[in-house]
């Protein structure tokens, strides 16, 4: 593990606490393992926040989360004594009971720990360049995902405009899937809808989605046969340099050509105002 000016002994200078609902292979790599009861993340985080503020917390409340008071106190002591702490969290937190409330609670705990020491929280992103898509959507539209352009400007509402919701409701009459395999992970109604409408897939491989698609364009894999940029989890961009040549075009090349063809069509927006003015809060 990386040694540094601040942590000259590398791994030995670091403490890793693993929180999960079951013993996974990662337990071996960690110093402390806390087995939380499924669906009790929000309760645990809230109790930790209360204990951090020295508010009264009963043993029964703690027991409900699957942990003991000793474990909680030990965790908080370690967190407060750290020079620099990081919570890494993934879909086990953000997509289980409580969803975004769980993430919000964890972010608040991280912020509140800064009364004692430097502490931050960072989401563990999915495979591939999820962070890159996020970053670019934000600078072009102001929002990371769950965006609709159906009024000619970006609007945001997760739960309404997220990919899965749009597909389940059957709101689209075409689907364009790039470098993802929703056919493998999304609920059946969403998959059924993709099979029903013209679905176009850009992917180097045959996937569940490409099998149900009307069109599959094979593209060169980014970072192996196509250049580009990938954003690391901490939003640092890394250049991708291809190691081999590919007979297939890159995703960028295909999208650019589709865009050029679409630009030849008549503008569907027609005559509309150029902008919508600021609406101050009354």
């Amino acid at each position: 593990m990386q040694k540094s000016k601040h942590l000259p002994a590398g791994r030995k200078d670091r403490t890793m606490v693993l929180v999960d609902i079951r013993e996974t292979k990662s337990v071996k790599a960690s110093d402390v393992f806390l087995q939380v009861r499924p669906g009790k993340d929000f309760e645990l985080i809230t109790l930790l926040r209360a204990m951090l503020r020295e508010q009264k917390v009963t043993d029964d409340q703690i027991a409900e989360t699957g942990l003991t008071r000793e474990q909680c106190v030990d965790f908080l002591d370690r967190a407060k004594a750290a020079k620099f702490g990081v919570f890494f969290f993934g879909m086990g937190l953000s997509m289980t009971r409580g969803k975004h409330m769980n993430s919000a609670a964890l972010l608040t705990l991280a912020a509140e720990l800064n009364a004692f020491t430097k502490f931050v929280a960072m989401p563990m992103r999915g495979h591939g360049n999820v962070t890159g898509a996020d970053v670019i959507m934000r600078w072009q539209t102001g929002y990371p995902f769950g965006i609709t352009f159906n009024r000619g400007y970006p609007r945001y509402n997760p739960g309404e405009f997220s990919t899965v919701d749009v597909l389940v409701r059957g709101d689209t009459d075409c689907a364009f899937i790039i470098g993802a395999d929703p056919g493998a992970t999304m609920p059946q109604p969403a998959i059924d809808h993709m099979a029903k409408v013209p679905t176009i897939v850009l992917d180097p491989h045959v996937t569940h989605t490409s099998k149900l698609a009307k069109v599959h364009i094979t593209t060169a894999p980014a970072g192996i046969a196509a250049p580009g940029t990938a954003y690391r989890m901490d939003e640092i961009p890394l250049p991708l340099k291809p190691a081999i040549d590919s007979p297939y075009p890159s995703d960028e090349e295909v999208v650019r050509r589709i865009n050029e063809a679409v630009a030849q069509k008549a503008d569907w927006l027609g005559t509309r105002p150029q902008s919508i003015q600021h609406q101050p809060i009354s």
């Binding site: 990386q2 970053v135 072009q140 929002y143 640092i236 150029q274």
Partner: protein
């Protein structure tokens, strides 16, 4: 080819003050005369060179984090609808990239300087900059808390430090050097700050913020970047920080320097209740020292989002406001904090801040040395500049605004005693000619032959806020981009960069340090030139 005839021209770079002149444009630049082409009849109208923003935050990791944190603002703010020639976007506190270009151009600005870029994420910043249409851009890299550089300065290896600095700026494809809270952001890694210039920085044995300030200013002069060191002083925003600011200015004697957003550095008093304006004291010292320029960092009342590399200050602001807080650490280079904020006239501290920004603009007597800025989005959003122009040009309006402030503020500020009103010539200086000169961009802020044909044509109106917010025409590089309040064209802008030379052994020196300190491969770190859209390399001339 284009001719603009009959307008009243305000061109401070060439000493032209409201004379009626014709302007001729060919190949994107001003020329002596043209045959044929389009003619704009500007009779009765006012002509300025395109605006230049010397200090703004419009692209990169921090503003993009701020966008993510403020969806509630995007929802209610100005939205740009897609047309055949224009992409869609969102305005507001942290506008999206396309909207940033439209909003700046719509206000007559044609050049903007992104003032805080970590080298590690410079690639990201350049990607965003190339998505900002119409305006020309430049960027400054954060260097005052870089561990490799600080170690060299502590050891007194200044020649090596200079080579390393040149390598960093060259690798980042930046235009110059920004110093934010020198030593303070490095100390924030230990949960500490650096509030004075003489205390040792956390994690170092002898190095002080004062050493960093003086040596960086010296190195930037020796390397001869067109723009001097761009300094965000220590102890931002704190009551009584005037002493730190004056001390910083003393450390800069004998060097060129641009002091960013001085409004945040001109306070007296001991705590929030006794905080008062020390703009008069600051202006007096500043007026007597011509080696420096500054921008106001003015505050306007209303909602905004504050973003700065000053991590410790943002933690304090989070504790003060109890609102959302974002914190980013950029490995061993710098950090950044984001907190949404509302400036209220009823709040004593905010009222003092509002007054200080205007006082600095009015008390610094040379308009060539103080420039219009709000430290966007920190003091207010850049698209509110016309409100500041009105406050500067109309003493009556200023007095009217002051009547809305708490009475108890009056003995804390000097604004009520100031009667100065800016002229159009002076506004053209602080908004265009001055910042262009401070940035070392001879082709900007200038309507002379050979300069870039960036022209703003205003209807002369009594309501100067409306006048400056709604130019009749904006011409960028000879192309009409705004006409009658509508966006006509959205050409790409250029990026100004410098490529300073460094000794050939610099990379051999840095590579082992890199492998020890960074998580990125050494060869992946420099931004490739082909990633810069329309690079325009400016010359470095060492300052004697």
């Amino acid at each position: 080819m284009l001719r603009v005839t009959g307008g009243k021209v305000f061109d401070p770079a060439n000493g032209i003050n409201g004379e009626v002149r014709d302007l001729c444009v060919d190949q994107g630049r001003f020329v002596g005369s043209v045959d044929g082409g389009k003619t704009i009849d500007a009779t009765g109208m006012v002509i300025f060179p395109g605006g230049v923003d010397v200090h703004t935050h419009v692209a990169g990791g921090s503003i993009n984090f701020a966008r993510a944190m403020t969806p509630e603002d995007h929802r209610r703010t100005q939205a740009f609808i897609r047309t055949k020639t224009r992409r869609s976007g969102i305005g507001g506190m942290a506008p999206t990239t396309f909207a940033t270009g439209y909003l700046y151009a719509g206000m007559g600005f044609t050049t903007v300087n992104e003032a805080a870029v970590p080298v590690l994420s410079a690639r990201h910043t350049h990607e965003e900059l190339s998505d900002i249409p119409i305006v020309d851009k430049s960027s400054l890299v954060l260097m005052a808390n870089n561990e490799i550089l600080l170690d060299l300065i502590e050891k007194g290896e200044l020649e090596r430090a200079k080579q390393v600095l040149a390598w960093y700026v060259s690798s980042a494809k930046a235009y110059g050097v920004k110093a934010v809270n020198p030593g303070g952001v490095a100390a924030w890694k230990y949960g500490n700050d650096a509030k004075t210039l003489t205390e040792t920085i956390s994690g170092y044995k002898t190095l002080t913020p004062g050493n960093v300030v003086t040596n960086l200013a010296k190195l930037v002069d020796e390397l001869g970047f067109p723009h001097p060191i761009h300094l965000h002083c220590n102890n931002l925003g704190a009551p009584g920080n005037i002493s730190t600011t004056i001390e910083t200015m003393k450390h800069l004697e004998g060097h060129r320097a641009h002091l960013a957003h001085l409004q945040y550095h001109a306070y007296g008093g001991d705590d929030w209740t006794t905080m008062r304006s020390e703009a008069a004291q600051l202006a007096e010292y500043f007026n007597a020292h011509p080696n420096m320029t500054t921008d106001a960092g003015a505050v306007l009342f209303g909602d905004t989002v504050t973003i700065t590399a000053d991590g410790p200050w943002q933690h304090l602001l989070y504790k003060l406001t109890g609102r959302k807080w974002g914190n980013l650490d950029v490995e061993n280079e710098t950090g950044c904090g984001i907190v949404p904020y509302t400036y209220k006239p009823s709040n004593l501290v905010n009222a003092v801040q509002w007054a200080v920004g205007l006082e600095l603009l009015l008390l610094i007597d040379d308009p060539w040395r103080v420039f219009l800025s709000t430290d966007h989005p920190n003091g207010a959003c850049f698209w509110r500049y016309p409100e500041i122009v009105k406050l500067l040009m109309c003493a009556d309006f200023r007095n009217e605004c002051m009547r809305k402030l708490p009475v108890s503020i009056m003995n804390k500020i000097t604004l009520p005693e100031i009667t100065r009103e800016y002229t159009l010539y002076e506004i053209a200086t602080i908004m265009s000619a001055g910042p262009a000169r401070a940035l070392g961009l001879k082709q900007k802020g200038n309507l002379g032959i050979g300069a870039d044909a960036d022209i703003v044509i205003y209807n002369q109106e009594d309501d100067v806020e409306h006048m400056f917010g709604h130019p009749r025409y904006v011409i960028k590089g000879g192309e009409v981009v705004i006409e009658e309040g509508e966006i006509r064209e959205t050409p790409d802008g250029r990026e100004f960069i410098v490529q300073p030379k460094y000794e050939s052994d610099t990379e051999a020196f840095l590579q082992p340090l890199f492998e020890e300190l960074y998580t990125m491969q050494f060869e992946n770190y420099p931004v490739e030139m082909e990633r810069i859209e329309h690079p325009d390399i400016q010359e470095c001339v060492p300052v004697e």
